[in-house]
């Protein structure tokens, strides 16, 4: 096959089409310039008030409480060996759980969407059970299966493995539920186009499917991370709360609040630890939002 310069008549096509120029700016960017109508102003006011009462003021209260003793008190509270161990354990477990469920959740979503089998509708509903279950019930379920009276002979009480398994259970639905709709909406033609261009199955997945679903995977994994970072109820039974071993940050915070010997100091310490968890959660959410913006720019 030879490729030669376009025929002289060629530009006829270009004239009507390529002069269209860039598309108008998205709605969102123009909206900022608009003067608010009274109804919109009232709505905005209500939303701000509600967010302030329910979210922003409590968060600010935690920060204020944590900062009461100044920077040194904050630093002291979060750098004790017990605190460092608990924070590291919580963050490490959350990260591991986010990664594992990012992969497993994506796989489950893929199977549900692409290879439905007999009973996959049932599985689709079962996925949500860990999400709907009260956390203390999850704790009881875990003790029943992996406790001293384990029917399978595995006692995970007081071990980090026990914490990990419990968190895997609790955070399973997140990635499945964020990836599933994206996979369902995916343009199958693009995959076939890639195949006809010579791409093998794994290559099609890596180069055509994965780039499109990565933001959804990140979303799900970050939600799983945030949930695992602060998880308390389902862990309280299986962890045995051994400092520097199986004590997670949320349990340490609870312990500080319960400490009656020096209520003012321990409340400040609890708030300091809470600020660290809060900061890590916010960082993760911001990172995912940035990833989403990149994705939105591509697909907008």
């Amino acid at each position: 096959m030879t490729v030669v310069a376009p025929a002289p008549q060629g530009p006829a096509v270009v004239s009507t089409e390529t002069t269209a120029g860039p598309r108008p700016r998205p709605e969102r960017e123009r909206r900022g310039l608009r003067v608010l109508r009274p109804a919109s102003a009232a709505g905005l006011g209500l939303v701000t008030l509600w967010l302030s009462l329910v979210v922003l003021i409590p968060l600010a209260a935690v920060v204020v409480t944590g900062a009461q003793g100044g920077w040194s008190a904050f630093a002291d509270a979060v750098t004790t060996p017990v605190a460092l161990s608990a924070l590291a354990l919580s963050a490490g477990l959350a990260l591991a759980v986010a990664v594992v469920n990012g992969v497993v959740g994506t796989t489950i979503a893929w199977v549900l969407v692409r290879d439905p089998f007999r009973g996959s509708r049932l599985l689709d509903h079962v996925i949500d059970v860990p999400f709907a279950l009260p956390t203390i019930v999850t704790g009881v379920v875990m003790i029943a299966l992996y406790g001293p009276a384990s029917p399978v002979g595995v006692d995970l009480v007081g071990t980090r493995v026990g914490l990990f398994v419990t968190l895997l259970f609790v955070t399973l639905p997140f990635t499945v539920r964020t990836v599933q709709p994206v996979l369902e909406a995916l343009d199958r033609d693009a995959e076939q186009a890639a195949a006809s261009l010579g791409a093998s199955g794994p290559t099609v997945f890596r180069r055509v499917v994965l780039p499109v679903i990565v933001p959804a995977i990140a979303s799900g994994a970050s939600l799983a991370f945030a949930r695992a970072l602060g998880e308390y109820g389902s862990l309280v039974l299986i962890s045995s709360n051994i400092p520097k071993q199986t004590q997670v940050a949320s349990a340490l915070i609870y312990g500080k609040l319960e400490d009656a010997t020096n209520p003012v100091t321990s409340t400040q310490q609890a708030a300091s630890l809470a600020i660290v968890l809060l900061a890590v959660s916010v960082l993760v959410l911001v990172a995912v939002e940035l990833l989403h913006r990149r994705g939105a720019r591509r697909h907008g």
């Binding site: 490729v3 390529t18 006809s196």
Partner: protein, 352 residues
Amino acid sequence: MSIQVRGLTKRFGSFVALDDVDLTVRSGTLTALLGPSGGGKTTLLRVVAGLEQADAGTVVIDDRDATRVPARRRDVGFVFQHYAPFGHLSVARNVAFGLEIRKRPKAEIAARVDELLHLVHLEAFADRLPSELSGGQRQRMALARALAVEPKVLLLDEPFGALDATVRKELRQWLRRLHDEVHVTTVFVTHDQAEALEVADEIVVVNGGRVEQVGTPDEIYDRPANEFVMRFLGPTTALGGGLVRPHDVEVLGSAEPGAVEAEVGSLRRVGFEARLVAHVPGSGDVDVLGSRSDPALRDLRPGDRVWLRAVGPVVDPSPPVPDAEGSEAAAPGEPVGVAASSRAPVRGGVPA
């Protein structure tokens, strides 16, 4: 690079999409698969591309049996109706995709992508994302992407179906010119007879999972094999027991051999056209389409007596002939195309 299809059958549940289809596409031609929706033409194209597996039959591409070859090894360029862009990649990276898969050197890829973007007039859009292009531009990008790997055959599934009328007309003329430049064996699916007649070297009329007729646009138009082909190519009217096109009916002022007597019902002028409805006793109404300056039509009044005669192809309105190959079989009124060619040797020595 030719395509040979033999005995292709494909069912979706109880629906027969392809029913024992035979087809040969000659190397270097631009062929249209023309037919109504659900007639099997897209399925045929997808089976040739390897995107669909036939239940029976063989596909031979460039003299190699490709029946069991997966799509990615068939060297077939495929263009989808809805463009199927890789939304996360720039226009240039979309075009480069097949070459990157083949691990060609970077410099070679860049040069080839430039060449192709120039060919499809998208040089200025190399760094845009597909979402920033118009429909016509996306389709040209998809075409460049398919051509990049120098496929043996190029298959286009309703390539202009999702575009508005003006862009569609421009693009089909552009496709014709492009094919004249690159000469790759090309098959495109369309349900638009004007598109097929205007662009294709050869037309394959597909209906109900079967090939109704194969021929050049002139052959298909002048010698439709059966009623289906005749009706699919435009309006028809019944005259003397056969189907003719309204503009192929000659209006005569007196009885002549082969002419049918009729009474003028109405005569309307629409722009430069004159539309006559004439009533044939014991048969029904016949539509006649002529030019408003045609002296035979100009002075007619309702109730006038006229004689009507077919001057174009006449097709028997019987069920389609099972053997679509025998296109000459269904021509009781002796179509002009056939008449002209058979007349030539007879009158060869007679000066006009």
